[in-house]
């Protein structure tokens, strides 16, 4: 019923849009071509997500427009975000983003935030994993936090992203919830050349803060030991399912590395409704569910309204933390 109501509402709004704004475009939605943008180079998480979405939508026939994938890398997604400002009001561009869309804005790397886009849907999520070499002296995340409380310099945290971006923030969120003070003094070391996991295997850093999906294979092979992950429940199967959540360890916090779709700001309501409908159907298909399983992703579907609320809430949470750590 609700679906029908939403559909009707959007149909009414669409009709109004059709009459008032751009009749040619509205009548034709979806257009012949919809650009699916990965704001990064080929091969990363954003790229994989948008390609998978495009493929599933095409294979299931849910969207019959052409959906070429465009890579627009630069500035950790900020270049594409700036480009999207030139496409305001258009409906033929869908871009994928994740927590960095909030973080790059909060740390001042770009003036644009999620508010300068039209959130369309949250689709999937990965979680943070805190991983140590197999012979590490730390057996639980609690021990790491206790060590940090005594001496913030005693545990060296490695991550892939730059300081102040995701790998750093996800660890600090947990540390804060665990009651570690002086978050500023914790040494975070960024390895952007792709050597992070090798650094952990070699024992050059004490703990790496990364994505659960990025280390699943190594955890399964026993070369790395995952102390905790940040979902609100156990994830996956086998050895992965044996990784405790930080909540179980008595630290009351979760962190989601969600990925969602965004359109340009002021996207026509009709286009938003079209995508709401198509994506709602997509997440129910077996093709999508298989893709989730294959990539180790967790379903985290939220429609545009819920997603927007979620973004607002998360943004405030990060804002407080970044202010505390960086004073900006």
């Amino acid at each position: 019923m609700i679906k029908l109501k939403q559909l009707l509402t959007s149909a009414v709004i669409a009709t109004t849009t059709l009459l008032s704004v751009n009749s040619a475009m509205a009548a034709d939605y979806p257009p012949h071509t919809i650009n699916m943008v990965a704001p990064s180079g080929a091969g990363g998480g954003w790229d994989l997500t948008i390609r998978t979405v495009g493929k599933v939508l095409k294979d299931t026939g849910l969207v019959d427009a052409n959906m070429p994938v465009v890579n627009r890398p630069g500035g950790g997604g900020a270049v594409n975000l700036a480009y999207m400002q030139t496409q305001k009001g258009k409906g033929d561009l869908i871009s994928v983003y994740s927590p960095p869309i909030l973080l790059t804005n909060l740390t001042g790397l770009t003036q644009y935030s999620y508010k300068d886009t039209t959130p369309i849907a949250r689709l999937i999520t990965d979680y943070a994993a805190f991983v140590v070499p197999e012979n590490s002296k730390y057996k639980t995340i609690k021990e790491v936090m206790d060590a940090l409380k005594k001496d913030p310099k005693s545990v060296k945290i490695g991550g892939t992203s730059a300081a102040g971006s995701m790998d750093h923030i996800q660890f600090l969120l947990v540390a804060k919830a665990a009651g570690v003070e002086n978050l500023r003094n914790i040494d975070y070391i960024s390895f952007q050349n792709g050597s992070l996991i090798a650094q952990a295997l070699g024992g050059h850093v004490d703990l790496i803060s990364t994505g659960l999906g990025d280390v699943a294979g190594l955890v399964e092979s026993g070369k790395l030991h995952a102390l905790a992950q940040t979902a609100d429940k156990r994830i996956g199967s086998g050895l992965i399912a044996e990784i405790p959540t930080v909540k179980e360890e008595g630290i009351n916090v979760t962190f989601e590395n969600w990925r969602g779709l965004f359109g340009p700001k002021d996207m026509p309501e009709e286009a938003v409704a079209y995508w709401r409908d198509a994506l709602q159907k997509m997440v129910e298909t077996t093709e999508w569910k298989e893709a989730l399983k294959r990539n180790g992703w967790d379903n985290a579907y939220q429609n545009d309204q819920d997603f927007t609320t979620f973004l607002g809430k998360t943004n405030e949470q990060y804002k407080g933390l970044i202010k505390e750590v960086f004073g900006r």
Binding site: G43, P73, G74, K156, A163, F191, S195, A198, Q199, S221
Partner: protein, 501 residues
């Protein structure tokens, strides 16, 4: 014995006609992509990504291997013929490859580059089969301190090598280091020298520096002489092969460079560019004909060509045995594997032996096929030199811009490209060597980050840079690379005095 059986099984996969066909097609595609400046193996493999959806994992991996190795073969073609490296790993091929072509020895240059690539690649594939595990073990021993020293070693070798004027080499290096600091600093998360330009946040790609200095610089330099018709186009061409004498000179450099390239390639983040430059410098140091280096010494082309192919195979080690991408290309390949439902890493050989060993066997096969394809192909390509500069240079210019755009899809890079092209001309006029600058632009970023990583991990204790055995070894290399040229210069001076007296 186990290894041999496994490898034979791998060959029985890779030698199936279907896979041979895929290697051939992938290899030719890769060669073409590799030749275009800015488009390297990573782009080539990424272009293939959508196609891999429909192929099985083995087929898609083997095709990607073909493209990867093809791009390594192709990269140096444009270095030799138009002084524009296809990608970073082919940079060292410009040092002596282009002078060879200018001296009318393009045929030998193209032939030796294919032969060196074949031998380097094959040696590396053998090493890969036998020693993947220990090399992976060595690779993880490289912490930030060791990375830092490795980068310093590479830089000091190049700078001390710049003939005649060490000060100018040093100046050139400083410019390169300055370029490498642009962008968001990983350790602090702050922007440096970005002037509010979003595109600069990710830094200046060293390929833009290479294309700017070499391709644009070359074209700009020729503007003065173009209407006078300075350089004559070559019209007669010999067979693509090398003489016995040339083989004798290149034999040892090729054999020596392959294992070095292989090991450096296996270090995540170091890669073919570093490997080929270090091997070039090694050979220059060891050679009896030092004077000839930079003016068309065949061993100066053979060594880096062998090294970069070996490195490209070494780069597969972190992916296959650790599940860690060691380079941009292997990162894309890993993405493809994940999409196909295969988890790369230590379990790959146990869970998907056909795929893993088929891939290793295809390294051997791809090297052979590409060498066979490349020699006749070179016969066609060499005719590029028959194109008069008035026609060729506009083509080079457009290729440079297209390649630059392909790297980062950013128009800002065009301005940087032009500035660097002009800088290339000015540096040429003032006799400032460009290779220290380019190497500094390549390794500078990582050198600085590694230093700060190591310094932070050790709680600001500098001794971390000399504690491990690897660190000590690298320190010795650095000292030698600085002292040897000084000693040989002093001895040369003394000898001269003797003659004069």
């Amino acid at each position: 014995m186990d290894i041999l059986t496994n490898l034979m099984n791998g060959f029985s996969v890779a030698l199936q006609p279907y896979y041979l066909f895929l290697i051939l097609v992938g290899g030719i595609l890769g060669t073409v992509i590799g030749m275009l400046p800015g488009l390297g193996p990573a782009t080539g493999v990424a272009i293939l990504l959508p196609m891999t959806f429909s192929m099985g994992p083995t087929a898609s991996l083997i095709t990607m291997m073909g493209v990867y190795i093809g791009a390594m073969f192709g990269g140096s073609r444009s270095s030799i013929l138009i002084n524009t490296p296809g990608d970073g790993a082919a940079l060292a091929a410009t040092f002596d490859g282009y002078p060879m072509a200018m001296k009318g020895k393009a045929e030998s240059a193209l032939a030796i580059s294919a032969i060196a690539s074949l031998i380097g690649g094959t040696i590396a594939a053998v090493l890969m089969t036998l020693m993947a595990e220990p090399v992976a073990g060595l690779a993880v021993k490289f912490g930030p301190a060791e990375y830092f020293l490795l980068m310093v070693a590479a830089l000091s070798m190049t700078v001390s090598m710049s003939k005649g004027n060490m000060l100018k080499g040093f100046l050139s290096m400083c410019i390169g280091l300055a370029i490498s600091t642009v962008g968001i600093d990983g350790q602090s998360g702050l922007q440096r020298f970005t002037f509010g330009v979003l595109e600069l946040q990710t830094g200046i790609d060293f390929l833009v520096v290479i294309i700017g200095i070499y391709a644009l610089g070359e074209v700009f330099k020729s503007f003065r002489t173009l209407s006078e018709g300075g350089k004559k186009a070559q019209t007669k061409f010999k067979r693509i092969w090398i003489s016995k004498e040339e083989w004798k000179r290149s034999k040892w450099p090729i054999l020596r460079s392959a294992p070095v390239g292989f090991i450096i390639g296996a270090l995540p983040g170091a890669g073919g560019t570093m490997a080929s430059l270090m091997c070039y410098n090694n050979e220059k140091q060891l050679s009896k004909n030092k004077e000839e280096f930079g003016h068309g010494a065949i061993e100066g082309l053979a060594a880096p060509e062998s090294a970069n192919n070996a490195a490209s195979i070494g780069a597969m080690i972190p992916m296959l045995s650790l599940g860690v991408p060691g380079s941009g290309t292997t990162a894309v390949m890993m993405g493809a594997l994940l999409m196909l439902g295969i988890q790369p890493g230590p379990l790959l050989f146990a869970q998907h032996p056909d795929t893993a060993w088929g891939l290793i066997a295809s390294m051997f096969v791809a090297n052979v096929i590409l060498a066979i394809v490349n020699i006749p192909l070179a016969g066609v390509l060499v005719r590029l030199l028959a194109i008069p500069p008035k026609v060729l240079y506009p083509i080079v210019l457009s290729l440079a811009f297209v390649g630059c755009y392909a790297i980062s899809a950013s128009v800002v890079d065009f301005y940087i490209l032009i500035i660097l092209g002009v800088a290339g001309v000015i540096m040429g006029r003032l006799d400032i060597p460009t290779s220290p600058m380019i190497l500094a632009a390549i390794v500078g970023g990582q050198m600085e980050q590694s230093f700060r990583q190591g310094y932070r991990i050790s709680n600001q204790d500098l001794s971390v840079f000399m504690n491990s055995g690897i660190a000590k070894g690298l320190l010795v290399v650095i000292l030698l690379s600085i002292l040897l040229p000084i000693i040989s210069a002093i001895r040369a001076k003394a000898a001269k005095r003797k003659v004069a007296a």
